[in-house]
Amino acid sequence: MTGASTGFDRLLALGDDALVMAQRLGGWCARAPEMEEDVALANIALDQLGAARLLLGYAGEVEGAGRDEDALAYLRTDRGYRNALLAELPDGDFAVLVAKLLFFCSFQRLRYARLAGGPDERLAAIAAKAVKESAYHVDHGAQWTVRLGDGTDESHARMQAAVDELWPYTHELFEDEPELRSPWLSTVEPVLAEATLDRPVDGWAPRGGRDGQHTEALSYLLAEMQVLHRAHPGAKW
């Protein structure tokens, strides 16, 4: 059983997924292949950050230990984070980021859609906003997947390598909600087919993020994200 059974851990998993995605996406600003893409990725990062703030703020209240969104974002170590491993993986090649957008945002959209109709009214309200934004994120990932996959020999090879690299990590997304895997495949598989990419074979399925067991990549990500707040607690400018 994973740690996502309690309300607090469940909210952390949701919030950390969005926060780590926001940090990864934000890292692309001024590094994307064209200026429109800098703007697009920064916009998606902003949507993710907005959802993360709402979710972590709520998590802090549920926990009742006086931790607000900043305390949760800046003062937990990797072992305290509950995001899925896929979010934290390095995306040094643009194709990896594109595959991550397609895989992760498709999952987020399905999960938000379900939560929007759930019994927790506050969580439903957050999810009802996020699901509409997710639709744009998924569309963006799908368009780039097709453009790169069905592009040049070079872009095809790199897009396929990215899909192969990330595919094993998609299994962890459905650990707590295995029934979402089927609709997720219905979103992702046609995009891969149109992009002339091979759908990888299911096999190795690394996990552990929901229990705080992460790859080393998360430690470096958090070090960069947290350093200012830790050096100058409460700094404002």
Partner: protein, 179 residues
């Protein structure tokens, strides 16, 4: 003449769009005053991460303070989720006059989801196999009025805008995104 708290808050202008008020945008939900004179303002964000919200809160407080109301509470109300359909007719006209194409309707007046919407874009493949592309059909160039326009990016200068170009007059323009 003294404006009511509601009139005062309703006149606050969006800090990024500048030509429309927060009431015209549908960001303002309610303004209530209790017996003690305390004013409570409820607002809702357009997008979850909209960075203008802090500025809007500050502008609301400043407007109420200059109207003599200092005991003010500004609360955020997420549900029901904001939709671009909440932008008023006057707001849409002002956006268009400022060079921002107003958003296509996400739902028809009867509440039925419109087919001509980008609010739930299907994956590229699904679109091609499922018939017509669900693109808003009426994004006209706000400068010359031509319907011969092309979306360059679904993401623009703010979270709520997309970037377009008019193929007739060759000018780029913003579209307020349907959401």
């Amino acid at each position: 003449m003294v404006n009511s708290p509601h009139e005062t808050v309703a006149a606050v202008v969006d800090p990024e769009l500048l030509v429309v008020t927060i009431e015209e945008l549908g960001v303002l939900r309610s303004v209530t005053t209790d017996d003690s004179g305390r004013v409570t303002v409820a607002i809702t964000p357009t997008y979850s991460g909209c960075p203008a919200m802090d500025a809007i809160r500050a502008d609301i407080r400043a407007a109420l303070a200059s109207a003599g109301h200092c005991d003010v509470d500004v609360v955020t109300q997420l549900a029901p989720a904001w939709s671009s359909d909440l932008i008023s007719e006057s707001g849409r006209a002002k956006l268009a006059a400022a060079g921002v194409a107003p958003p296509a309707r996400v739902t028809s007046p009867a509440g039925v989801p419109s087919p001509a919407t980008l609010a739930e874009p299907a994956p590229v493949s699904a679109r091609r196999s499922a018939g017509p592309v669900p693109v808003a059909l009426s994004v006209r160039c706000p400068r010359c009025g031509s319907p011969d326009t092309r979306r360059l990016s679904a993401f623009g200068s703010t979270a709520c805008k997309a970037l377009w170009r008019c193929e007739a007059c060759r000018e780029p323009f913003d579209e307020f995104k349907p959401l």
